[in-house]
């Protein structure tokens, strides 16, 4: 049983490290930051840091999808997977380098000790659906969303 677990972990780490970027990135697996997984969706893998821009994202490896393109239905399902049946969150579609991506922002006014705003970007990289979430104490401006989209476009 232990060897199966070890194999799974090895497979996971190989799989996760397969995600690259033309920018310098650092991936910190959830096993290294075990408390960070509390309250997060099962697909959470760890933290992705862009070293040049100092941006930091939660990294999610999503369940395979029949289609290799994000759709409104797919993004709504992922929204619930990340944040639960929350209030209406506007979903925006943008063009990424590997097809369309969707962005959606959640807000929890009750948060007093942690960032209340979260922006998710979901799309396909290497034909695999992935999601990144960034947290902030303030709402994400269109400029910031554009910056995040640019970082997404560096992923390979």
């Amino acid at each position: 049983m232990k060897s199966i677990t070890l194999l799974c972990i090895l497979f996971l780490s190989i799989d996760v490290s397969a995600l690259g970027s033309i920018k310098k990135i650092k991936f910190i697996a959830k096993e290294e930051i075990p408390f960070s997984a509390i309250g997060k969706a099962q697909s959470y893998q760890g933290i992705l840091k862009f070293l040049d821009s100092e941006d930091l994202f939660e990294y999610y490896k999503l369940a395979p999808s029949r289609s290799l393109k994000v759709s409104l239905d797919y993004c709504q399902a992922i929204k619930a997977h990340f944040f639960g049946p929350s209030e209406l969150i506007k979903i925006e579609f943008k063009n990424g380098h590997t097809g369309p991506v969707c962005l959606f922002e959640s807000f929890d006014a009750n948060k007093t000790q942690s960032p209340a705003f979260k922006l998710a970007i979901v799309g396909f990289i290497n034909a695999e659906p992935i999601g990144l979430i960034q947290s902030s104490y303030q709402s994400f401006s269109q400029e910031k969303k554009q910056e995040i989209l640019k970082l997404w476009q560096t992923l390979r």
Partner: protein
């Protein structure tokens, strides 16, 4: 023992375990279950801490006007505090924290005033003042992450 008896015993134990769980997701439900809950939860808010040379961590469960609020923060092993509205199910031996996205955290109750979190740390029930003091220490001791710096420039991190 034949297989039928094994199934009978398993279902009996499972029935006892289910019967021992009491769930609540708002103050009204909590009031109805309060006396049935383990000592750790029968008088919310509950504050728990870990304070050793390896890690300092704080967690709380509080009643809000129409919800139950969970909070967790630590000096290590986490990038930002967890703060969510939750549903709680509890028995004498475990506490389940159910998050809105369907994920859950199962916490083992070891003593009437102590739990074991993530198979890593023991957390002990404390008074509000002790929680506040350590919570403030944890917040200020966390290593500043780049995103925290860029997204919250007005916040003081040490």
């Amino acid at each position: 023992m034949d297989i039928f008896k094994v199934f009978l015993l398993l279902s009996l134990f499972s029935g006892i375990s289910q019967a021992g769980m009491h769930c609540f997701s708002n103050p009204k439900e909590y009031a109805a279950k309060q006396t049935l809950l383990p000592p750790l939860l029968n008088n919310l808010p509950t504050y728990l801490v870990t304070d050793n040379f390896m890690v300092k961590a704080v967690t709380s469960l509080e009643l809000k006007s129409d919800s139950i609020r969970f909070f967790f923060n630590a000096t290590r092993g986490i990038e930002e505090p967890v703060e969510e509205t939750v549903r709680v199910c509890a028995s004498e031996t475990k506490i389940e924290i159910h998050f809105p996205n369907g994920s859950q955290e199962i916490i083992e109750v070891r003593k009437p005033d102590e739990v074991f979190v993530r198979n890593l740390i023991n957390m002990t029930k404390v008074e509000n003042s002790r929680f506040d003091k350590l919570s403030s220490f944890v917040k200020n001791s966390r290593v500043e992450t780049p995103s925290a710096k860029t997204s919250n420039p007005g916040k003081a991190y040490k």
